[in-house]
């Protein structure tokens, strides 16, 4: 176990893509302290900004990192990591687990936007809320989250699973608009409400909303009513309206919306 504590609160954002088991493994604490990071436009070392303690020269797979204090302005923690574990006791900043290829990240607080963007494998669990663009790709790219799992126990913002291509995103709370926009594949499970426009532009994949949705996009067509939906091994009980779309993009995506929580959608039943 290696622990990090911010030495002072950060005003400007700190870019710390080196906080990963892969970078820490096989290094002494002093070597770790010399890893370069950015504070705004100033080059710093990890040791300058964080108090670092713990054992040295651990093997990547046994390497676990624990971050105390508030790191809500520390960006890119766990970027591209492939093994080991990171536990953030407080909040985490943007781009947490960006391009992650394996291992696990646990955040006890909230996390800012672009969590798990472009991730390929591994698991990210957020006990608090997540920002916007969960599992999204970089601007202009269509290569969203490819695999792995992101679980958010609180709420998530807009465009969850943007251009998602695989894996699972599970939001226990509510989501903003455009959940699963341009989704190519994979599964998004929302246990709370959606602010609407769910599945906009989706081509393939599965979105399940267990709570309330203000409306369904006119470019989706109702297909059937299902008693429950399978998400990997787990079975989510409905009943659900099953919509297909986004037809504006010739999509074949499946959008499941709770029947019980959305009586205002029952006019769709006349098409069944």
């Amino acid at each position: 176990m290696i622990t990090l504590r911010p030495k002072r609160p950060f005003k400007v954002s700190v870019e710390a893509k080196c906080i990963t088991p892969n970078d820490f493994a096989g290094k002494t604490i002093n070597e770790i302290a010399t890893l370069p990071i950015w504070e705004g436009n100033k080059k710093r070392t990890l040791g300058e900004l964080f108090k670092i303690e713990g054992e040295s020269n651990v093997a990547p797979e046994d390497c676990s990192i624990q971050i105390f204090g508030d790191s809500s302005r520390v960006r890119g923690v766990g970027a591209k990591m492939s093994v080991g574990k990171i536990i953030v006791e407080g909040n985490a900043g943007m781009h947490l687990g960006e391009g992650m290829k394996g291992g696990a990240i646990l955040v006890k607080g909230n996390v800012d936007s672009w969590v798990g963007s472009m991730m390929e494998a591994g698991t990210i669990e957020i006990m608090g809320d997540a920002g916007d663009y969960v599992g999204a790709p970089y601007r202009g790219s269509t290569l969203g989250m490819k695999g792995g799992a992101i679980v958010v126990h609180g709420n998530a913002g807009y465009e969850v699973g943007c251009f998602m291509r695989g894996g699972l995103i599970k939001i226990h709370g509510n989501v903003g608009q455009f959940v699963g926009i341009h989704m190519r594949n994979g599964t998004i499970l929302v246990e709370g409400d959606s602010e609407g426009r769910a599945g906009a532009g989706m081509l393939e994949g599965k979105i399940i909303v267990c709570g309330y949705v203000p409306s369904i996009l006119p470019t989706f067509t109702i297909d059937s009513i299902r008693p429950n939906v399978k998400v990997n091994e787990e079975r989510v009980t409905g009943p659900f309206y099953r919509f297909v779309g986004d037809l504006a993009d010739g999509g074949e995506g499946k959008l499941f919306v709770s029947q019980g929580k959305n009586p205002h959608l029952n006019f769709y039943e006349k098409y069944l």
Partner: protein, 460 residues
């Protein structure tokens, strides 16, 4: 022109005329520096020195504005931002930034304005009010202009209008704006197929409220606020000859939408102009995403083009220069020594709302008058430098104010029209004593910053 004073202006719009005739009001030709709460006059050298110190010392400075100055000045601005490792952003960020984001996802089928003057027979303004925001647009480039393959739609209007003697008020307003006498169609909502039956050029306006432009249109389609996305997606489906499960979208009956879709597919060359009505309302970039996709899709049936109605006079130039020097059009972060771009993270509003910036340089722009309160508070809480010809809300709150010469009036340069056509800006009058062009001021600040850094380097 009378002894270095502009007395009258030819072929400019109302806004342009106001600009030329009043540019000299509300100016303080002397630089100012804030000393214990008060802005007091200072020498230009002092002001530049002070600015350099603020910027060289900052660890996350923002350089914002750029849309009302010349490309030459913007080139220097980018070099300065790179030198101090700052974030440089332009007014696209609160205008057509979302459009850029969706162009980067979808692409865009566009053209120069002349192409539309010559060829377009269907003109759609969506969430944009050219009458108020771009007063000469309809007259010069679209419905009322005369092109090689398309006659002006004037006659159609006049003939239909001789019937109706209403709209005196509008008439007056129109001739005021367009500088000639015209009449306007009656404000009854006919069915699209009737209103758009003519062979001639047709104009449709889609908006949440009946704007003045809407009253000039052959057909006005009112969309419920924040429902543009649904409407656009529905249209995309209709032009694919798909059917919808619902019988109305965004308050518009499907039957009407079907007729609009037919008109769009049936035209020879159509164009969709979209304004901040799309980029600022709920859905933002995704509204534009849908609009761009709609136009792209129609190209399988007929030629259709789309263009953002960009505001500030050289905002297109700002995007253009940013892009060729850094690869990215706005919200560029140099803090790591190379350009990084991620609006939402590196865009000025977000940085300010998160309270990350520790200094600001504003060039020819007035964020205090245009940013949300929260952002403004964080902007004015840090050392703030303003380079601007006039006194603005922002300059009132600044720590250093450097008055500059008006580009296009008191100094020359290059600017880009909203369709990316570069135009030379000419100098017509001498600037007030001591007012330098932005380009020169920025070069001098850059020079001072480099001197400071050099000393610093020798220091340690």
């Amino acid at each position: 022109m009378k002894n270095n004073v502009i007395t009258s202006v030819k072929n400019a719009c109302a806004v342009g005329e106001a600009k030329f005739l009043n540019y000299s009001n509300h100016r303080r030709p002397k630089p100012l520096i804030r000393k214990n709460g008060e802005l007091v006059e200072a020498s230009l050298d002092k002001a530049i020195q002070k600015s350099a110190e603020i910027l060289a010392g900052a660890s996350y400075p923002i350089l914002y504005g750029w849309s009302c100055t010349s490309c030459e000045a913007i080139r220097v601005g980018l070099e300065l931002a790179e030198e101090i490792g700052g974030i440089i952003d332009n007014t696209s960020t609160i205008c057509h930034g979302p459009s850029v984001l969706s162009i980067q996802d979808v692409g865009m089928a566009s053209c120069t304005l002349g192409q539309l003057r010559h060829r377009a027979d269907l003109i759609i303004y969506w969430g944009s009010n050219p009458w108020s925001a771009h007063p000469r647009h309809i007259d010069r480039y679209t419905a009322f202009s005369k092109g090689r393959f398309q006659p002006s739609a004037w006659r159609g209007y006049l003939s239909r209008l001789s019937a109706t003697l209403t709209k005196k008020r509008l008439l007056r307003a129109t001739s005021l704006i367009l500088r000639r006498k015209i009449s306007v169609p009656p404000e009854v909502d006919r069915s699209p197929s009737y209103a758009l039956a003519r062979k001639e050029r047709k104009m449709i306006v889609v908006d949440v409220r009946r704007t003045r432009s809407a009253e000039l249109a052959d057909y006005f389609l009112r969309v419920e606020p924040n429902k543009d996305y649904e409407l656009l997606q529905a249209l995309r489906m209709l032009i694919r000859d798909e059917e919808l499960d619902v019988d109305e979208v965004a308050g518009v009956p499907i039957s009407v939408l079907e007729e609009i879709a037919d008109v769009m597919v049936g035209c020879e060359l159509g164009v969709l102009f979209f304004g901040v009505g799309l980029t600022m309302s709920q859905g933002k970039l995704r509204n534009v995403d849908a609009a761009l996709s709609l136009v792209r899709d129609i190209n399988q049936r007929t030629k259709f083009l789309i263009m953002p109605m960009r505001g500030h006079f050289n905002v297109t130039g700002a995007d253009t220069v940013f892009t060729w020097q850094t690869g990215f059009p706005y919200a560029v972060d140099f803090s790591h020594g190379y350009p990084r771009y991620n609006p939402g993270e590196t865009s000025v509003i977000d940085i300010l709302c998160r309270g990350e910036a520790d200094a600001g340089l504003i060039v020819a722009s007035d964020p205090v008058a245009h940013f949300p309160r929260e952002a403004v508070q964080n902007l004015v809480n840090n050392p703030l430098i303003v380079i601007d010809p006039h006194v603005s809300a922002t300059s009132l709150t600044a720590d250093v104010v450097i008055p500059s010469a008006f580009v296009g009036i008191e100094t020359e340069g290059t600017a880009y029209r909203m369709d990316h056509v570069p135009l030379p800006l000419k100098k017509v009058v001498e600037p007030p004593e001591g007012c330098l062009p932005d380009t020169v001021i920025l070069q001098r600040i850059l020079h001072e910053v480099r001197k400071l850094k050099k000393r610093e380097g020798e220091g340690n």
